[in-house]
């Protein structure tokens, strides 16, 4: 067995390197393009490492398009959505974990069902609904939509955190005369902090990265999110504009990269836990 392993090892490394190239190549090219001056862009033999790296593309990206405005808009929308999502989800997740009710099963069913349906079925009525409520083309409208669509998953996540808290703690609090709300606020909530952070980050990143809802529900340029602004960037694709485009795309990725850097370690373990439980 050992002998076979050492024989097979070179083949494994070849495969691993092939994967690394496939995964990393586009990323390196994006980073490289973002730091390249225009005259290097259309060379016959382009290099991965720019000969004269420059930050000009970033400056141009912020000058040519309302990038700063879009980043601020997205920050407001994603931040508010994340906050509201967890505030609404904590009590509901507690109920799902502690009551033996139809609610938990219904939520699970909804998590699955909402994955199955094409967005087009939801987005037309949502568009009509928000338009009639005067919320079309407002940040509030988009926030509502994001809250609703990240809630099932947030609920599911938080529920498993509540289950992990020993019931005895709550029983002790109830013995001392604390009501349900009081128990939730003083005993459960403080212990839920890691779960709340994870759920909030998840909601933030899904809102930050989202494109289709924003495309349909926002029109005013001053309100647009980063994804919409980036797509506008694409338009006329002169070679000279590729640098700023890459730079802007890179800036837009930072929040989600930070998020994944934080949760990377937990990711594999968390998915494993979920797989076994369900």
């Amino acid at each position: 067995m050992r002998g076979f392993r050492t024989l097979a090892t070179p083949a494994k490394y070849v495969a691993l390197v092939a994967y690394l190239v496939f995964l990393a190549f586009p990323l390196l090219w994006l980073i490289s393009t973002a730091f390249k001056p225009p005259q290097e862009m259309a060379l016959i033999d382009p290099t991965i490492i720019p000969a004269e790296p420059t930050l000009d593309n970033f400056r141009l990206a912020f000058e040519q398009q309302p990038l700063a405005r879009a980043l601020l808009n997205t920050l407001i929308i994603a931040g508010t959505s994340a906050l509201v999502t967890v505030l609404l989800s904590i009590p509901a997740a507690y109920v799902m974990a502690r009551y033996r009710s139809a609610l938990s099963r219904m939520t699970m069913l909804w998590v699955l069902l909402s994955q199955m349906f094409p967005f087009i079925l939801v987005i037309i009525p949502l568009f009509l609904l928000l338009r009639d409520a005067g919320l079309y083309d407002t940040q509030l409208g988009l926030i509502i939509v994001y809250v609703v669509w990240s809630m099932p998953f947030a609920l599911w996540m938080l529920r498993s955190y509540v289950v992990g808290i020993p019931v005895e703690l709550e029983e002790a609090a109830a013995m001392d005369g604390a009501g349900k709300l009081r128990t939730l606020k003083d005993i459960v909530a403080p212990l839920l902090v890691p779960g709340v952070v994870a759920a909030a980050l998840f909601a933030f990143v899904s809102a930050w990265n989202e494109f289709l809802f924003a495309l349909v529900l926002l029109r005013t340029p001053e309100l647009q999110t980063i994804s919409l602004t980036l797509v506008k960037f694409i338009g006329a694709e002169g070679v000279a504009r590729l640098g700023p485009l890459a730079a802007a795309a890179l800036v837009a990725t930072i929040p989600s990269l930070v998020f994944f850097a934080i949760i990377q370690r937990r990711l594999v373990g968390g998915m494993l836990g979920g797989a076994v439980k369900s």
Partner: protein, 311 residues
């Protein structure tokens, strides 16, 4: 003690079914759950039901237009619409290719990552990065890679002597769909890899060692020990991947907007255009219903076969 006792009493006392409350919750429970329930019902369940209904009406954009129930008119119209057949054919090709390629690519990577190799940390980190990127950024990044004049792909292939002149990857009728599929595989690999890796790590080491002692080679060990343990996860994952891929929108919208000549117009892109470019809400919703039907048929068929095979 009393906290759980009060919580569970309604569910376990059959003598008072009326007082059980909504969904088996008492007053406190309802109070806590309702703030989350109301928005979900109002902004996702209700729109979904209304969307399904819209598929049976002639709803159109414009405030003055009247909407009336038209039964199956939209669907007879769909059956005679060549754009509909094209986009569903493309959608199925896309969803199948991406799901299958993604599965094999991810399985290979997960098997490698499950072993003690150098550079494993790097591959692990890189394998997660596509997950962290907004779909719009992934689209832009691959546009840069595929760019006919300034893209790295053309210049690399020319250096290797595989092509002589620059290829227009995303604006060629025959190459656009395969090119887009590669991007689909790239962007979906992390999730599948992580899930498969988690599955691999749950396979019992003792069982594998026992098989090795009995003289099973690596292939036999994979076939007889690892694969059976992995199978339920594989079924769930490929089913979900297929659904997600069939419903996908943003990536291809950014890469090609459905072009050239509709050769990458996935069902969602077609429906989006119908709804928000031409204002045919009813027709677009009917397309959505047709998508649900296709997904349901494939999923039921696939799952039934899967479970029959497993006995």
């Amino acid at each position: 003690m009393s906290a759980t006792a009060t919580a569970r009493r309604p569910a376990t006392r059959p003598t008072e079914p009326k007082r059980k409350g909504f969904l088996g919750l008492d007053r406190d429970g309802l109070l806590l759950a309702v703030p989350a329930l109301i928005p979900v019902v109002l902004f996702s369940m209700y729109p979904l039901l209304r969307g399904i209904y819209l598929g049976f009406t002639d709803a159109e954009a414009g405030r003055n237009s009247q909407t009336s129930f038209t039964g199956f008119d939209n669907y007879t119209q769909l059956l005679g619409d060549s754009y509909f057949w094209d986009s569903f054919r493309i959608g199925l090709i896309w969803a199948f290719c991406v799901t299958v390629l993604q599965f094999f690519a991810s399985l290979g990577l997960a098997l490698l990552l499950n072993q003690k190799l150098r550079l494993r940390w790097l591959a692990r980190t890189l394998a997660l990065v596509p997950w962290a990127m907004p779909p719009v950024v992934i689209g832009i990044m691959w546009r840069l890679v595929y760019h006919p004049n300034a893209g790295i792909l053309n210049s690399t292939l020319k250096d290797l002597g595989i092509i002589d002149s620059n290829v227009e990857w995303l604006s060629s009728l025959s190459l656009a769909l395969p090119a887009v599929i590669v991007v689909g595989v790239w962007s979906g690999m992390p999730q599948t890899t992580v899930v498969l890796l988690a599955g691999l790590q749950s396979v019992s080491e003792e069982l594998k060692e026992a098989a090795a002692v009995d003289g099973a080679g690596p292939w036999q060990r994979f076939r007889n020990v690892t694969w059976p343990a992995l199978r339920p996860i594989v079924t769930a994952m490929t089913t979900l991947d297929f659904i997600w891929n069939f419903n996908s929108f943003s990536l291809v919208y950014v890469l090609t907007e459905g072009g050239p000549g509709g050769s990458t117009r996935l069902p969602m892109l077609f429906a989006y255009e119908e709804a928000f470019r031409y204002g045919n809400y009813g027709y677009a919703a009917a397309l959505g219903n047709a998508m649900v039907l296709v997904i349901a048929v494939f999923v039921v068929f696939y799952l039934r076969r899967r479970y029959r095979e497993e006995g």
